[in-house]
Amino acid sequence: MTGADRSKHERAGGSDHVGQLVRLAGRRPVPDPAHVSRARAAAHHEWVRVVERRKWRLPFWPLAAAAIVAGVLGMAVWFPFHRPSARVPGAEIATLQTVTGSVRIASAGEPPRRASEAGLRIRVGDRIETMADGRAALIMPGALSVRFDRASTAVFDSTDRLILANGAVYVDAGPGVRPALRIETPFGVVRHIGTQFEVRLDASALTLRVREGSVAVETPGNQLSAKAGEAIVVTSGRPPARYGIVMSGPEWSWMSGLAQPFHLEGAAAPAFLDWVSREQGWRWDYADPSLGPRLARIVLHGSIEGLTPDEALAAVLPTCGLTSRLEGDRLIVGTAR
């Protein structure tokens, strides 16, 4: 009996044994999206390593053969064809700026290494992993600040593409800065348009929170954008949800320990207040407009290294005879009585 005959036989008899078995087994179990993301990032990293190594090998063997022939003819001919045996590294795309806790960087073709000091260069293809106690901040060209929360894994796939496997990343493009960075997740792709925003990925959802500017999100079947004060939640099987958010507070506090350093020595007081406010998600204002000229003349001295922006604010303002208070997202700066 041929396959077609059997199928006709089954349909005619009203009994579909293949169907019975497939129903008996039920849907095949699938891994959690978080597991898939993590595995995809790791597999991708390995694949990039293999492809890079292969690219190097392909031209190597003809060159090596040429070198052997050239060796017979003499070192003078061979030498210009010689290539160093070290793998050609990927292009540098970022520098590690701040590290807290345990953070590991895995470069293509090399075992993961602990990242403990600022200044480490990040290359295309590198995977960054923050452990349960670790956080990290990177600085990219154009002063683009990229910060990773605890338990995050991401791969810098190219100079403008970050694959987030799990955890959260916060991006601060800085005022007026327009570098392009795509953040890819299993739930969708996030592109920013000069802004501050957070992308958080867990097993069930991608959550985007925008603090400044606007961000585009591409999901299968949807193209959305979120502006400052909005969040979008993307889950599989349901339409994306949008809601309003606060711009400062505890849910934003994780990245304050990773703030871009501020060089206090010789800085004007308004510049310092701009920095604090940007990092905290505040807008600052004078308690009294007449304070403006006085504040502009204040030049700060010393260092705030190791302090978070709010700690720096508390340390610096009293030395200038100033005070501050918060009204919602507004930082009101006045004179000390």
């Binding site: 059997r6 089954e10 044994h17 008996l24 179990p29 959690d32 898939v36 390995e46």
Partner: protein, 202 residues
Amino acid sequence: MPTDLELVQAMLDGDRAAFERFFDVSYPALYRFALVRLGFDRDAAADVAQSAICKAIGKLRTFRGEAALLTWLCTFCRHELYAFHRRNPGRLEIELSEDEPEIRAALESLRASAAEDLDASIDRHKAASIVQRVLDHLPPHYADALEWKYIEEITVHEIGVRMGLGEKAAESLLTRARNAFRDAFQAMAPAWPVNPDGGSRS
């Protein structure tokens, strides 16, 4: 659809779409392979499958297409399972009938040939495991079509829409999928016939 060897070659050439296709099909299959062997510990299965797929990618250039790609990948998964059990000596090791070389060979070839008789008292759990393994070894669009038809119970027309096929082509694909499934299952469990004359025990 590319052959396994073509897919691997495309990956080695740096084709990102080939990598995505490879990962999307292989990782869930390896996960399921590990899952039933680890007592349905989802975290452990995910870890083992991840290690296996990364190790396999590292050795991609050694793949010659002599075995099916998934069968080749499963050898890495077996090594990772072994390593996992060595690291966790208290864990229960689960042996499956499909781990027998004969069954592996049958899965690899997907042809009813020389598989030995399985225990006739094959239970429901084992049957489910075998069905899922057979589905993993079918071409992915066959397995999807069978799950949509029998589990989601969508119409042939809807299957065609999902696959970008006309209704007639979808029906034809379903027929081929049923036949491929039947042959593969028969190879693994000849004592459990799935042909119209013999019927199946469920």
